[in-house]
């Protein structure tokens, strides 16, 4: 699937998630399935929670016990392949990278979109962060239904 359409299978996606009981706090999910020469996720994490190692082609591995869900790796990944997620009651709170216009605004309701680019529900915009060090990649915190945990990936106006 991934090789032909760019969409990873559900079983592949799940390999990047921790047990759901770890998601009471936000954790980084690195959707990076292929060895490419790249390591900013690992070098940008202030908590040394992502390891790639000497050979920068290796896949990133997240230590979920060390990850604080700060979101720095989310806007540092050139592949826009990282997000964080936490579960709060019936909701999943995602922090995603976003580089398109128009920018979302807090409290707006946007469409929740899956990896196929299809609308799968609603996404409520909770925070929109853009600091100079993010270098024009927005960090958007959104709330979606908990059952979209493995499906949600981005937002659409």
């Amino acid at each position: 699937m991934l090789n032909k359409t760019g969409v990873p299978s559900l079983s592949l996606i799940k390999t990047k998630f921790p047990e759901q009981n770890k998601l009471f706090k936000a954790k980084a999910i690195t959707e990076c399935y292929e060895e490419i020469p790249c390591n900013p996720c690992s070098t940008s994490c202030p908590f040394e929670a992502i390891t790639i190692g000497e050979d920068i082609n290796k896949l990133p591995v997240v230590d979920f016990d060390k990850c604080t869900g700060c979101g720095i790796c989310v806007y540092s990944c050139p592949g826009l392949a990282i997000f964080t997620v936490a579960l709060k009651k019936e909701k999943a709170i995602f922090k995603i990278p976003y580089e398109l216009l128009p920018y979302p605004k807090v409290d707006e309701t946007w469409k929740a979109v899956n990896r196929d680019g299809l609308v799968i529900g609603e996404a409520i915009i909770k925070k929109v962060i853009l600091k100079p060090k993010q270098d024009r990649t927005l960090l958007v915190e959104v709330e979606v239904d908990k059952n979209l945990l493995y499906d949600f990936i981005t937002i659409k106006e």
């Binding site: 359409t5 292929e34 020469p37 790249c38 050139p78 990936i153």
Partner: protein, 364 residues
Amino acid sequence: MIFKDLVIIGGGPAGLSAAKIAAEAGVSCLIIERDPFLGGQLIKQTHMFFGSEKQYAKTRGLDIAKILIDDCLKHQDLIEIMTSTTVVGLYKDKVITTLHDDTYNKIKAKSIIVSTGASERFFAFENNDLPGVYGAGAVQTLMNVYGVKPADKVIMVGSGNIGLIVSYQLHQAGVKVLKVIEAASNIGGYKVHASKIRRIGIPIETRKTIKRAIGKDKVEQVEIVSLDDDWNIVDNSSEIIDVDAVCISVGLIPQRNLLSMIDIKTKFIKELGGIVPIINEDHQTSDKDVYVCGDVSGVEEASSAIVEGYYTGLIAARNLGKEHQDFKTLNIDYKNQLLNLRSGPFGKKTLKGLEIMKEDANVK
């Protein structure tokens, strides 16, 4: 005639990096660039780059260009820069003919580094000469350098990294990318790029190709067809789509026409993108005072072009009698960086190409 120790032809990442290190070693050099500005392909790259910190990973391509240019401007005493100047002739006695506006000039160099990059491959299909059929790089130049919207509705042919990234950048500029088609059975570029464009609603369809463009004075429609595993067109698979532009990104070819003027030995190495100059470990061609680095010696990435540039600048300076004060450490560091960049599945191709090259370099 102007006399120079080291002339660098092409001011992209490879050429700029070579100039920086050569100047650090104390060599006076001249960079000749055809475009009105330095930076090569980088100036139109709005996305963050891969690699590691040493090659400015996670920095946007156009900002990497600024860093490399600033590095050169720090050595203004040693680095001279000519922009809007094309090298049109290269002779065996190291004489270079340049063209600026309408004026030709001659420059004689002791050593020359050729870092002219690569050019886009053409692709044969019916009506591929209609206005509206563009190279993907051309579309990028139009929108990211000149701020001109190339079209409203496009189809992208080719799913290598360039096809995928340019699709993303078209979307950012407000252009609708209807789909990306790929003749091979798998996506060619990095899957993170593929996923990134798939989620914003751009489908990627493999085993499809463009049969013809349709239109009178410009592209109005395209016909695409499916291919079977033997690359034959599948019956009744034709699909006509309304578009106002077709973007072609089916690969790059090393731009070595200057090298052929001085009969540099070359070889066809598929893994490196086509016909490339045969070089030794020191990036010397069959003429030992002519060096090459970057995409002209094998199509790769900016990250490796930068490191190759540093390395070539280091060696060329030493051979001109100016050894860099950190020669030994840098020499090892650059080799390791290149090895590291090339040690994954994508880099294997380059390594294989370089192995094939070695066989010839040693015969010499």
